[in-house]
């Protein structure tokens, strides 16, 4: 009897692992193995002058910390995060509150805000490149109507960050809106009814009911927004190649440059480790401070 139970148990386990195997193979091959390999490789010198990788301890990291471009890129990433996340979330909430209320034009408004989500970043970069082009671009035309000088948005170190921030807000706000729309659906209508019976003003309703009850959504969207802002890269290939003088460069694009333009593989690995660490820290924040049950179970 006991032997039969063991056999049955073994069989179930074998089945389970067999069915997981296809997923597991690809997961190992393209997630775990590369992460571990990168970690190891980040302690090696592997560039054009070293045909065989050479162990050099924490040399890559030491070099990275002394690398001005690395700090600049991190700073840019932080500015992009600070510049895009709060604004696009506030806009997303506004859009959702509005689109949730008005029934007839609702879907049109929603479409207008959401469509950038289904367009490739590379196409967006093409279009916005034309918007930002000095003299002929759309922005120059607008500024001209108001009698303002046209500016070289993408060629100026100060302006390029703003140009990127505006574009990314445009791209992301509609995506965040749908989470707020879903969040709004979950707020009970009765709350609003009793609030209106009490004669509460719309601002009071928002600050006392809507906003607090949307807090889980807000935190959740914030995590997605911050994560997304660190994964930005595509638009740089078309728009600026990170320039002028790395003013618009971002971590992922710097990894790409280091690996495939400078062929400094040890450094590219060290930078990738930093990237992974950033994502893990954001995820850890999510697990520690947000109710994971809402989203994973």
């Amino acid at each position: 009897m006991e032997k039969g139970q063991w056999a049955a148990k073994f069989k179930i386990n074998a089945y389970a692992w067999l069915l997981l195997l296809p997923s597991l193979i690809f997961l190992i091959l393209f997630t775990f193995y590369p992460v571990i390999k990168t970690l190891i490789f980040s302690f090696y010198q592997a560039d054009l002058s070293t045909p065989e990788p050479l162990f050099n301890g924490i040399d890559n990291y030491r070099r990275m910390l002394g690398d001005e471009v690395f700090w600049k890129v991190l700073k840019n990433n932080l500015w992009i995060t600070l510049g895009t996340v709060p604004t696009s979330m506030a806009l997303a909430l506004m859009m959702a509150l509005y689109a949730n209320k008005l029934l007839r034009v609702k879907s049109l408004i929603r479409t207008a805000f959401f469509y950038p989500t289904v367009i490739p970043m590379i196409a967006i970069a093409n279009i916005w490149l034309f918007i930002y082009t000095p003299e002929y671009g759309a922005l120059s035309h607008f500024l001209h109507w108001f009698g303002l000088e046209h500016l070289n948005w993408l060629g100026n170190q100060e302006l390029v960050t703003w140009a990127m921030i505006i574009m990314i807000i445009w791209k992301e706000a509609g995506y965040f809106m749908i989470f707020y729309l879903a969040g709004l659906q979950n707020i009970s209508q009765e709350l609003y009814e009793s609030a209106s019976l009490d004669g509460a003003k719309s601002w009071t309703v928002f600050s006392r009911i809507t906003f607090p009850l949307l807090m889980p959504t807000t935190l959740f969207v914030m995590v997605i927004a911050v994560t997304n802002s660190f994964k930005l890269v595509d638009h740089l290939v078309i728009m600026t190649q990170g320039g002028p003088d790395n003013a618009s460069n971002l971590l992922l694009y710097y990894i790409y440059q280091t690996a495939f333009s400078f062929w400094d593989q040890g450094m590219a690995s060290a930078l990738t480790v930093v990237m992974v660490l950033i994502l893990v820290v954001i995820a850890a924040f999510q697990f520690l401070f947000l109710d994971k049950k809402i989203h994973y179970n």
Binding site: I12, N13, Y15, A16, W17, L20, P22, S23, L24, I25, F26, L27, L29, F30, T31, P34, V35, K37, T38, M95, I109, R110, T111, A112, F113, F114, Y115, P116, V118, I119, P120, I122, A123, N126, I127, W128, L129, F130, A138, H141, G174, I178, F179, F220, V221, K231, D234, V237, I238, L252, I255, Y256, A259, S269, T272, M275, V276, A283, H295, Y296
Partner: protein, 267 residues
Amino acid sequence: MQRRVENIAMFGLACLWTFPLIWAFWTAFRPREMATSWELTPDFTLNNFVHVWNGAPFAQYYLNTLIIVTGILAVQLVTATLAAYVFAKVRFWGRDILFILFLVQIIVPADVLLFPNYNVLGDLSLLDTKLGIMMPYFASALGIFLLRQTFKTFPSELEEAARMEGCSWWQMLWKIYVPLARPTYIAFGLVSVSYHWNNFMWPLIVTNSVENRPLTVGLAIFATSFETGAQWAEVSAATVMVILPLLLAFLLFQRQFLNSFIHSGIK
């Protein structure tokens, strides 16, 4: 009064949001020499599209993107269904640890592992192949989580009844679970297709030939082959060609898309 201000503000915002798209379409249909002018003349042409179609192998790019997107989705559906079923319904040794390990893919997606995955692909001698573009995405933690959630809601009586009828586990999976989970499959499918239709950086690094390049990479090469501003009309036409299929699908199946992307938030 307040309502009025609100309406005007949001209408303005919506106009602002649609402007880039409308402008791209407008420019795409303008004669080349008028592309940068803002005069409203009734001159429209399809020439830009003809030039783009003949000047660069966009037909091949379309085909490549179609193959890549459907290939990824097909494999993902199989691997995710199997894994999701096991995670949802089977108690086995190591389940919880394994589940957490799958989570890692959501935190550290293949997109940020560009350089190490390039090396993996090189070791497999799959650089510059369509299979190479697809492979890192064959296992999808997102798909597994979404399907697992759905499968978990199916009562175990369902499984017992099927057993009584003499169904094997895979018959049950195929005939009962998969049809019942259809909404989840559609939701995941839309996210997967849009994601891989739009994916750029990975195929850019991996591909090196017309035979394997997807639309996004083709578009980038086409756009950067001109001096800035020299060929706006044609670049706009190419851009429109790349975004149109997904955009149309989105406009037709809006509700479905919005629901799908809400699920995608899990990443």
